[in-house]
Symmetry: C2
Subunit: 239 residues, 2 copies
DNA sequence: CTTCAAGAATGACAATTGTCATTCTTGAAA
DNA sequence: TTTCAAGAATGACAATTGTCATTCTTGAAG
């Protein structure tokens, strides 16, 4: 087993503690696991016995309603923790996780994890990460409430650009490691509707490409993400 | 200033610490504030200088897109903390809070709050609260993605029942302290659509009443909340 | 190269939801 | 009580989105 002290992603993880007044006990019940693209990490109906710290790869966290309707709740990356809500009552755990790329995760036993969060630095790091995730979730809720599909798709593309985008001359290149169906599950719509919004953005010249896409007009995409919501004719001056 | 030790809601707050190995420092830069129903606590464009612990009352946390589209992100109650995401970068604070009932909040200065979360028990309590809020937010995201308005409204009513419902014979009585517009902002739809869904539930005999409503058929409401999502004809056996 | 299957795309249509106009209710103030 | 304004409700219609059927692409396996 590698020691956590030398982990290349230590600084990105919640286990990195700048001020060493309260030195971290690294997990001793840790196991490093590898997953192939598409492989399931845990599923909605099991009670997990620990948490996972992502060393490498993209993990989709999903929820299914049993009628074949899946939602991708979020995508977790290097340094993120998944399954941490076992801290709450365990039996309400109702999410699944799947590797979207080949991935390496460190499994940390529940007891060990509970011990680790006795460390001030670690809890605070985890709290910050959680608050950040919550903020993003709340922003997504607003989008769902207020915006049309094409707008939410534009938001998603801006997000992906921020995370995985590569600048190429005047364009941004994004290698979507996502099928159209997965994009639909992120945006919250049917695959067909997503495909049509996608086509619309292409027709407008804002993006191009298929699996690898290019953002040709970043400003237009930003506008699409922000301004196209349901709107009423609010009379400026009802005089 | 009242001392926190004697606060009647101490046990509901994040400042309550069972194992006293690491005794809590109660906030010393605390101010108790009263708000009237409808009064604004902080708004989206200000950078708050501290957090609020709710002693009494219901607080709606909202987000506006500037085009008159508001969303109620969540309703916070006794023992909850609002504004705690000042722990993250302050300038991204983009929510407002308004009292839905007469309310009493304790304002805690940012410096003081940062000091308080040095206490293990307090951070862990806050972390648990945040994880719980996140879980609810993620569940709401799934509902938005998968369910129709009438279904989301049913979910909301079940929630309100759980929080404020009073058993009356075979029924549940809920005093909605919410206008139809507010209900719409919670469910994520237009007021007219909400009103129609409301009417539909009444027509089905599942609920009755106006501002004070009665759940006549809890099971039917539960079913409505769970089962009515968009569904495809998944062929059972395509042989 | 051909075959084939899975994903992507598109057309047609229906269901849901949003928008606007109008009317009905309700409760507070005069 | 009467008046009036704000919220609630409803009708009519349009826009968006979901569903199903079908076709087109693409890439892997033989």
């Amino acid at each position: 087993m590698d020691s956590c002290q030398n982990c290349p992603i230590l600084k990105k993880s919640i286990f990195y503690n700048q001020n060493s007044e309260d030195p971290i006990q690294y997990p001793h019940l840790k196991r490093q696991l590898s997953f192939k693209k598409g492989q399931n990490i845990f599923d909605q109906n099991t009670s997990p016995t620990g948490v996972y710290c992502i060393k490498k790869g993209d993990i989709k966290v999903m929820k299914t309603d049993g009628h074949g309707n899946d939602t991708i709740v979020r995508i977790a990356n290097t340094g993120d923790i998944i399954g941490d809500d076992i801290i709450l009552s365990q039996n309400e755990f109702k999410k699944s996780a799947t590797a979207m790329t080949d991935a390496v995760l460190c499994y940390i036993d529940k007891t060990s994890f509970n011990h680790l969060i006795n460390n001030k630095g670690v809890v605070v790091n985890l709290l910050k990460k959680t608050l950040n995730t919550l903020r993003k979730a709340e922003e997504h809720i607003c989008s769902c409430h207020q915006k049309k599909v094409i707008s939410r798709l534009s938001e998603l593309l801006m997000d992906l650009k921020k995370k995985n985008g590569i600048r190429e001359n005047a364009q941004w290149k994004i290698d979507l490691n996502l099928s159209r169906e997965e994009l639909a599950m992120l945006v919250g719509t049917a695959p067909e509707t997503l495909i049509r919004s996608f086509a619309e953005l292409k027709k407008l010249g804002i993006i191009s490409g298929q699996k690898v896409i290019y953002i040709n007009d970043e400003e237009a995409l930003e506008n699409m993400a922000n301004s196209i919501s349901y709107e009423r004719n609010t009379l400026a001056c009802p005089m």
